[in-house]
Amino acid sequence: MSFLPKSPWLVHYDASSCNGCDIEVLACLTPVYDVERFGVLNIGNPKHADIFVVTGSVNEQNKAVIKNIYDQMAEPKVVVAIGACAASGGVFRECYNVSGGVDTVIPVDVYVPGCAARPEAIIDGVVLGLGVLEAKYGEKGKVAS
């Protein structure tokens, strides 16, 4: 039995978001949405996190950072791209320095659309991510310590 879906810890990275989606991510933690009901914690450290939440589009400056944070997360892990920019680059897609969505750097498991993505949608995305997490745990079997 996997306990991964019961205790999803997030690391949230603002790639080059306009802060719209970031505010909505934080809104999920407020008493109105209270994601801690599901054991969700915004842990802020990739080494402790299970779910990588990225907002904003990927550009030349943050490409390596996204890759690095992803690499530093322990298996099994899931990436949730929040908002239009994280999904595809959004309105910044054609900018000279923007290379597109998060999936240009790391594999993305769940895309949450919206500009900005609504808290309900974000929670929905994270919950979808939990299924993926469970599946990944099942695939790999028990991860060696």
Partner: protein, 632 residues
């Protein structure tokens, strides 16, 4: 047995003169190694003999002729030091020395014939502990110095090579130290006391540069103050109590003995560098490291606490002794607390060690000053553990210094990676100094338990002092144990004599920790019973718990030393996502590639020397003045 005792005093002195003549290289190596081994063996044999008897042994040893000889030697040495002081224009030191000389002469002419010690020498279990420290650790350090001094002169080309003189003094010192601990006649004890002062003076000034000279005279002056107090104590003892025998002090009436005992305690405080006299020990760190290890941590400064431990029955049993003892203990307590605090603010490893030495001596003084049987046990235990662990630490630092070119703790990042054996020595030493369940902590624990009964107020000093002690050791320990990627092992640069000494001392540090119940049972408890007529009883359950904890730590070190080849999931440090492909580097501001470098906290604003040292000097001066005022 008397022959063996005299041998332990005279043989090192004879070797010293031999070394003055022996040429550098093979000849010296042979002489030092062989005689070190002989001294160690002799002290072990003596220890076995004394322990076998189970009671103190007294020896008449000598007579009028020997007294005269000692007087002449004292005069000669005094004159030499006076002349040196004059040549260096150190008039205060000269004046102190002259005053001491005059007192010695007056005593010899006026009083020496009015009183005689029946037994000039003696040996009991405490002497055994001390002679083992001197004979075994001292010899090891002398052996270590063989390789070290060659390296030293390679690193300090500006220092004239006087290593013949160096070894002369070291061995003369070993002899004097043995004399000091076997002397029952206080006049003899005083002679050896002064000789160790001079040895320390010569060795601190070994480098002959301005700083070395200044610090050597500082040490001389402060120790001569103690010498003057000692001299004065002899006068008062002879006049008021008509005895100069150490073993008779606690049988005397308070009125006759308290003033001299207070003066002797004063001398002990100077010798063991307690506040307000601590400055000389810090200055003494300019001397080559074996000197710091031998004189300034494991033996000579122990002479001060040794004397106070000898006096502790007086504090405990003589009328009015408790008050004097309390003030002695308070000086120790203040010293322990403040020097532990100041150690946090230090970066130079030797200065940290110096402060910690002063602090631990302070703790011993606390125990000896109160002087009940429990605390006496703790005091002797502290002496044993401290002597071994601290000399190990000093020698490790000295060895590391020659390889890495620095003794700053900041530059010891990841020492365990590139100097594993030296680092292991340091770790063992540090663990022995403060960590439960090892060495010093066992005795600190006994100290706390003893103090609660005797004087709970003093536990407050120990509580705060122990807390700050933690900090400076842990941050050093942490620095050493940092794991860096792919360090290059440079252990081959360490001379074999040094590596061997460090290994032996590490094993000894660990050994006394494991064997402490036996040491307690066969060495300390008879001594405590002999002196206090009280049985020291250690809870077997606690000993068992301690041993279980030790075993656990030992088990844990196995995977540390042999990590195994099992596949691990390595990832570099978290550096906010800015890691570079190259390890331990990150992409910093302004597009620079930056290497991780970590610095420690020194809390200068809180525990800085400039803040605390004057405070300590002032408060301990007041305490000492009150102490002397009470008895006058």
């Amino acid at each position: 047995m008397q022959a063996l005792l005299l041998f332990l005093i005279l043989f090192p002195a004879a070797v010293a003169f031999l070394l003055l003549a022996a040429p550098k290289g093979r000849a010296r190596q042979t002489v030092v190694s062989v005689s070190a081994a002989v001294i160690a063996a002799a002290s072990i044999i003596l220890a076995a003999l004394v322990l076998g008897r189970g009671a103190p042994v007294y020896f008449a040893a000598g007579g009028h002729a020997v007294d005269l000889l000692i007087f002449a030697a004292e005069l000669a040495l005094g004159v030499i030091v006076t002349v040196i002081s004059l040549r260096r224009k150190q008039y205060l030191a000269m004046a102190l020395m002259l005053a001491g000389l005059i007192m010695t002469v007056v005593y010899e002419v006026w009083l020496a014939n009015t009183v005689h010690a029946e037994n000039n020498l003696f040996a009991d279990n405490l002497s055994v502990v001390m002679t083992l420290i001197i004979g075994v650790i001292g010899s090891l350090i002398a052996f270590f110095a063989l390789g070290y001094m060659e390296e030293y002169h390679r690193h300090h080309e500006d220092v004239p090579d006087r290593s013949n003189f160096f070894f002369f003094i070291v061995f003369a010192f070993l002899g004097a130290m043995n004399g000091l601990i076997f002397a029952n006649n206080l006049v003899w004890l005083f002679f050896f006391w002064e000789v160790t002062t001079f040895c320390s003076f010569f060795l601190i000034g070994y480098g002959r540069d301005a700083v070395a000279v200044r610090n050597s005279f500082l040490a001389l002056k402060l120790n001569l103050c103690g010498g003057l107090a000692f001299s004065a104590a002899l006068f008062f003892l002879t006049l008021n109590a008509h005895t100069i025998s150490l073993s008779e002090l606690h049988d005397l009436p308070g009125g006759a003995v308290l003033l001299p005992v207070a003066l002797l305690a004063f001398a002990g405080l100077t010798k063991s560098a307690q506040m307000p006299f601590s400055a000389w020990l810090l200055g003494a760190m300019v001397a080559p490291t074996p000197v710091s290890a031998l004189l300034h941590s494991s033996t000579m400064v122990k002479a001060g606490v040794y004397l106070v431990i000898r006096l502790s029955p007086v504090f405990a049993y003589v009328d009015g002794g408790k008050t004097v003892g309390l003030f002695v203990a308070l000086v120790g307590a203040v010293t322990f607390l403040l020097t532990s605090c100041m150690a946090i603010s230090q970066n130079d490893a030797k200065r940290v060690l110096a402060y910690s030495t002063i602090a631990n001596l302070g703790l011993i003084i606390v125990c000896a000053g109160i002087g009940n049987h429990k605390l006496a046990w703790a005091a002797v235990m502290l002496v044993i553990f401290h002597a071994i662990a601290k000399s190990l630490l000093f020698l490790s630092v000295g060895t590391a210094e020659h390889v890495i070119g620095s003794r700053r703790i900041e530059s010891m990042d990841g020492l365990a990676g590139y100097l594993p054996r030296v680092a292991a020595g340091m770790v063992v030493g540090i663990a022995g100094m403060f960590l439960a369940p090892f060495g010093m902590l066992i005795s600190k624990w006994a100290t706390l338990e003893g103090l609660v009964d005797a004087n709970p107020i003093l536990t407050i000093f120990v509580a705060f002092g122990s807390a700050v002690t933690l900090m400076f050791w842990v941050k050093w320990l942490g620095k050493i144990l940092i794991v860096k990627s792919a360090p290059e092992n440079v252990e081959t640069h360490v001379p074999r004599t040094q590596a061997l000494t460090l290994a032996v001392l590490s094993v000894m540090t660990a050994g006394v920790c494991v064997l402490f119940p036996l040491i307690s049972k066969y060495v300390l408890e008879p001594f405590i019973f002999e002196t206090y007529r009280q049985i020291y009883w250690q809870d077997m359950n606690n000993i068992a718990t301690l041993l279980i904890m030790m075993a656990t730590v030992v088990v844990l070190t196995v995977p540390l030393v042999f990590p195994g080849k099992r596949e691990r999931h390595f990832r570099p440090q978290y550096l906010a996502g800015a890691n570079l492909a190259e390890k331990e580097k990150f992409h910093g501001a302004m597009g620079q590639d930056i290497q991780i470098s970590l610095k420690s906290l020194y809390l200068q604003g809180i525990f800085g020397e400039s803040r605390l040292f004057p405070l300590g000097v002032l408060s301990t001066l007041i305490l000492i003045i009150i102490m002397l005022g009470v008895v006058v």
